[in-house]
Amino acid sequence: AQSVTQPDARVTVSEGASLQLRCKYSYSGTPYLFWYVQYPRQGLQLLLKYYSGDPVVQGVNGFEAEFIKSNSSFHLRKASVHWSDSAVYFCAVMSNTGYQNFYFGKGTSLTVIP
């Protein structure tokens, strides 16, 4: 069965520091992978996605993620965070056969200290 694990419920970093948010997935086959961000009282917004090809994908606002198949991971990274990056981040996997079903992790709440 497909599932997504985000092991860190909360992460706090200082502004300007680097960031890594962890995501591990369980999926039989090659998955489609996503990172979404949710700001307070808003819906989820797409940061980046991986379908195939280069395992390092670039997203909006300087975010990137690396697909490591051997480790079933898709960690999100940013070289230097800004206070406005404070939000909840969700990793998701989509089935790539048949109908499109998406599975989300529980999210990681990021707080950036100015």
Binding site: F34, R41, G43, L44, Q45, Y99, N101, F102, F104
Partner: protein, 110 residues
Amino acid sequence: EAGVTQSPRYAVLQEGQAVSFWCDPISGHDTLYWYQQPRDQGPQLLVYFRDEAVIDNSQLPSDRFSAVRPKGTNSTLKIQSAKQGDTATYLCASTPGTLYFGAGTRLSVL
């Protein structure tokens, strides 16, 4: 291009009351999803449609929840008799390929 539109934005009910949520997906998106997002958790799929057909409603509490998409465009999610445990944000999303979310409806059941 208009995004996914949901209404109402907020709803407050007493237990046992009914409520309906409405969703207008992005034009041309044939697949529509309803998710329930409890506080401090990720979205959990309730039901999704391809055009007007239900593809998966296995997570929908069928005794109290119902969802329709009669013309393959707009969709309505209804809770017949709300319980405190239904308190959550209800998100609608549409696709193909990438999920596009609406802002959600925040439901509080007192």
